[in-house]
């Protein structure tokens, strides 16, 4: 069989994206055309990339090539290997769904917003993401990385007329640039060691790095990638930026853009850096843990649907990092098999989160598209006008809550298993941490379930809470198809995990030198095992089938009863008052109140109730209720830092106060000092 031309397909895909970018901007005065171009090229490009990646992975050996660049100092070298390929595949899946979705979604933009510019930035984002995952050279990687940030900035600030979007965009790009700074320094350390900017050269040279340099590089990369991935405490940009972007972009931002941080960590920590310090894995694990728990706790307090989803991205990145941290620990401890399982857990969760988070954002986008609000307190009852969206969102919600038998459960299950395995193989103090981390993961999962009960129920169930919700309508068909693809992916990856897992063989082989997937599958290919003999097993396919089978008798019981004794529709029990209205309904704020009270140490909630009376205090005319939680990191960490910098800068202004005598004096004093210190014998 002749080899599939991976490179050609890859480059063609890039070319299609670039053409899309140019064509979109060129056709900015014809919105409909721009929309067709934008979605069409994205779809084509993504399909080509998907082909390239799938064949690249199937054919086994990584494809490596260089394009001679006009800048002689730097080479543009690409490598389509298992790790980058996996992320590219994730990207391609999302882009296919998002492109189809956007076809309907962007229609709304026509005549109001510049679709040409949107398409340009969108394609720029796609190109840069693809290049980031394929770059085999630090220089090219950084270019891809920053172009991605810039394109994302443009898209976050796309509604730049709104102050919120502008501010969020700036916060985003500033944090993104800070992470570029860290990466720049990190790469400089590696390049200093190897003398070349090629990733391939790092691995060999890393062995000669002094431990101090190695630690420094690790910290720099962890900071850099951590900011991008949105781990706590570098997360503040994420809940600000992701919600304000157009929803199809939010889906990509949360789905794949923050995953570039995960990609970078896997690439650098497991490959380029050779070995990491022994404490590194632990640090990653703990940071992941904190991100997961705090992420979901903050998510619970949100009633902005998209912000809520954004906080869940932090949580899930935390879960991914727990797996990655475990992989690092196992690797240092010399357990490649366990490291492989942990790595697969992390990477599979990356893929899963990409899919269901993308799905949820698209769902939120449909809701926003239909109701015009992101505030959950104004929604409700949308399941009736928007049944398909509601169903897709529900599947996404189940998946993200880590409930069986969908894909979120599988990757969390693998994470649990690697954490448990960690107890057996590590030293005294750290071993306690693993089960504790497992317990915290359980807390995270349960809180996530609570949060999504809230998100789904308040948005889609019961009565509409306002006119916006009561006039809602279902999204156009292309949007539904886009969501449908991802819904299908959630189910397929959940039930068919054992068929999918072999994809990871190449990756573990590349990063850890061992193909581990065979150890993970038993029971005639239906059952997932945790890798070691006698360890836990699970089969989502059987669980799914079992649920369906058991449904049979239950349905039978109910339908007999219903057929014989009837089923009526009636009003809800309203304590005897006349009729249930939307004002009686439970709100998102009320739903999370119990947790707000329990975790008040963290939230420091503040509430204010003002009652306006007319005559008697028993008959209030108006009641104002205000409640907010303290954004701890913003208030305690970033605001003081910012204030310090600005106060310092303002104070510095006095050195440029317009006095020419002062200016001359600066030079004079410098001269005298230099003469005194520089020349004297």
């Amino acid at each position: 069989m002749s080899m599939f031309p991976v490179r050609a397909a890859f480059e063609l895909g890039i070319a299609v994206y670039l053409t899309g970018a140019c064509a979109s901007i060129a056709s900015w005065q014809k919105p409909a055309l721009a929309r067709y171009i934008c979605c069409g090229t994205a779809l084509t490009g993504a399909s080509l990339e998907a082909l390239a990646v799938v064949f690249g992975i199937l054919q086994g050996s990584p494809v490596h090539w260089s394009v001679s660049s006009g800048v002689p100092l730097f080479a543009y070298s690409f490598s389509c290997d298992a790790l980058g390929g996996f992320f590219n595949l994730t990207l391609a899946i999302l882009v296919i769904a998002v492109a189809i979705y956007s076809f309907g979604y962007l229609k709304e933009f026509e005549g109001k917003r510049n679709i040409g510019v949107f398409g340009f930035l969108f394609h720029l984002l796609l190109v840069s993401l693809t290049i980031t995952f394929t770059a085999a050279n630090a220089f090219l990687f950084l270019i891809g990385w920053e172009v991605m940030a810039l394109a994302a900035y443009g898209l976050v600030a796309f509604y730049h007329e709104q102050r919120e979007s502008r501010q969020a965009g700036l916060l985003y790009i500033i944090m993104a640039h800070a992470d570029v700074g860290c990466l720049l320094l990190g790469f400089a350390v590696l390049i200093q060691g190897s003398g070349s900017a090629e990733f391939a050269s790092f691995h060999a040279a890393a062995a000669h790095l002094s431990s101090g340099r190695q630690s420094a590089a690790f910290v720099l990369f962890f900071l850099g990638f951590g900011i991008k991935a949105g781990v706590i405490p570098f997360h503040i940009w994420l809940p600000a930026a992701h919600p304000v972007a157009p929803s199809n972009i939010s889906a990509l931002l949360s789905g794949i853009v923050i995953k570039t941080g995960i990609y970078g960590m896997a690439r650098i920590f497991l490959d380029s850096l050779g070995g990491v310090p022994s404490w590194a894995g632990l640090l990653v694990l703990i940071v992941g843990l904190i991100s997961a728990v705090l992420g979901v706790l903050y998510a619970l307090m949100e009633h902005d649907l998209k912000r809520l989803l954004a906080y869940h991205s932090i949580e899930n990145v935390g879960i991914i990092l727990m797996g990655l941290g475990a992989a690092l620990i196992f690797r240092v401890a010399g357990h490649p098999l366990l490291a492989g399982v942990a790595l697969i857990a992390a990477m599979f969760h990356t893929l899963n989160h990409a899919i269901f988070k993308c799905l949820l954002f698209l769902g939120a986008g449909s809701v926003l598209h239909s109701t015009g609000t992101r505030n959950m307190e104004e929604m409700g009852g949308l399941i009736r006008p928007m049944p398909v969206t509601a169903f897709c969102f529900l599947i996404g919600a189940i998946a993200i809550s880590g409930l069986p038998p969908l894909n979120g459960f599988v990757s969390e299950w693998l994470t649990y298993q690697s954490l448990l395995a960690g107890f057996g193989v590590t030293g005294s103090l750290t071993r306690i941490l693993f089960p504790l981390a497992g317990a915290m993961l359980a807390l995270t999962g349960a809180l996530a379930a609570a949060c999504f009960v809230k998100a789904f129920a308040i948005t889609f169930l019961a009565l509409p809470r306002g006119t916006k919700a009561s006039h809602a309508h279902e999204a156009p068909r292309s949007m539904l198809v886009g969501m449908g693809i991802l819904t299908g992916a959630c189910v397929t990856l959940g039930l068919g995990v054992t068929w999918f897992l072999p994809v990871f063989n190449a990756m573990t082989d590349q990063l850890l030198g061992q193909r581990v997937v065979a150890n993970l599958i038993t029971g005639s290919g239906l059952v997932l095992s945790a890798g070691t003999p006698r360890s836990g097993t699970v089969s989502t396919a059987i669980i799914g089938a079992g649920l369906l089978i058991l449904l049979l008798p239950a349905t039978l019981l109910v339908s007999i009863g219903v057929r014989r004794f009837g089923r009526k529709s009636g009003p809800v029990w309203d304590c005897g008052l006349p009729g249930l209205s939307e004002e009686n309904e439970y709100t998102a704020t009320a739903f999370s109140k119990a947790l707000r009270m329990i975790f008040s140490v963290l939230y420091k909630p503040r509430r204010e109730i003002q009652t306006v009376f007319d005559v008697s205090p028993y008959f209030p005319k108006e009641i104002h209720f205000e409640s907010e939680i303290e954004p701890t990191f913003e208030k305690r960490l970033y605001a003081p830092l910012q204030e310090f910098i600005f106060r310092f800068s303002t104070r510095m202004r006095t050195i440029q106060a317009g006095s020419i005598h002062a200016y001359l004096a600066y030079i004079f004093v410098t001269l005298v000092l230099l003469l005194w210190f520089g020349v004297r014998k």
Binding site: I383, A462, V527, G536, T537, L551, G561
Partner: protein, 313 residues
């Protein structure tokens, strides 16, 4: 394959039959302890049977989620029951889901039940769902820690594997770690099954009810499914508790004698545990909602201590 099916069938029967009985036993015992006559051990069967024969009223405001919830609750609870060793160490579906799947499936049931509660638009439903999700969220880590303590001993999260290991070391339950873990899991059991001091299954007072508030709008066959599912869940959790920590009498082969002994010992253990639950229920008053986290925190600490002591002793 056939063996699995037969085994499943048998255990399914056992589950469906024993679960209401256990609820009945608990109710009766409780009544007796409070010097009331009580409804009789079989009352739960009668309730379910009666509900199945009632017509049902579905709220106008509800969507299909409301209708889906009872099925999910029932199916998940039953499926979980098939993953847990009851009378033998071989749970029929043990290979297909260990303790993590058990917790996950129960959570799935709870997820839908909470959605069902909110679907009606009634404040009671929202209140119940909110409280249920909150309490289960903080119960979860304690539960995990306690179970991990056992799982780490067995080196597996597979319940049958755990049971097999436990059977071979019959006096292990006296180890401090096991006792602490048992205590933790017992508290979680109280919380998860909605018993005093966390929830009062017998009240419809809005200030206190949790589970009952969620299912307030259900009627007829739906309610039957939910009640039945809940009692199965209770049975499953109690089974989990006794069989992980006190695996006496679990048969490890398929002779009639061992299975018979296993069944008998199993029932005895369940009744004993039921007595414990009843004692706790009777001796305590229901806690205020915001004191419940403290109780669960105690469970969490116990779990953590259990874990540390596996490592010490």
């Amino acid at each position: 394959m056939i063996e699995v099916l037969i085994n499943s069938g048998l255990q399914l029967m056992l589950l469906l039959l024993v679960a209401p009985l256990l609820s009945g036993i608990i109710k009766t015992l409780k009544a007796r302890l409070q010097t009331r006559r009580g409804p009789g051990v079989l009352q739960s069967y009668r309730d379910i049977f009666k509900l199945l024969r009632k017509g049902m009223v579905v709220p106008e405001t509800a969507s299909w989620i409301f209708s889906a919830a009872p099925y999910v609750v029932f199916c998940t609870a039953t499926l979980v029951g098939l993953m847990i060793p009851m009378t033998t160490t071989h749970a029929p579906l043990s290979l297909f889901g260990g303790v993590l799947a058990v917790i996950g499936l129960l959570a799935l049931g709870r997820f839908f039940l909470a959605l069902g509660g909110l679907d009606t638009g009634s404040s009671f439903g929202g209140l119940g769902s909110s409280r249920e999700m909150t309490i289960s969220a903080i119960a979860e880590p304690a539960m995990m820690l306690a179970i991990f303590t056992v799982a780490l001993g067995a080196n597996s999260t597979n319940l049958s594997e755990m049971a097999k290991i436990a059977v071979t070391q019959s006096w292990r339950f006296l180890a401090p770690s096991q006792m602490l873990a048992f205590a933790a899991l017992f508290i979680v059991l109280i919380a998860e099954t909605g018993r005093i001091p966390v929830d009062n299954p017998a009240t419809h007072l809005e200030l206190t009810m949790i589970h009952e508030a969620m299912v307030l709008e259900y009627s007829g066959p739906y309610l039957a499914l939910i009640e039945w599912g809940s009692s199965i869940k209770q049975l499953v959790l109690m089974t989990l508790l006794v069989n992980t920590f006190f695996p006496f009498g679990l048969s490890s082969d398929w002779t009639l004698r061992t299975v018979g002994v296993g069944l008998a010992v199993y029932l005895a253990k369940m009744i004993l545990l039921a007595c414990m639950v009843v004692l706790v229920e009777t001796a305590n008053a229901k806690l205020r909602l915001f004191r419940v986290p403290e109780l669960l925190m105690v469970a969490f600490i116990l779990g953590a201590l259990a874990l540390i002591s596996t490592f010490l002793f």
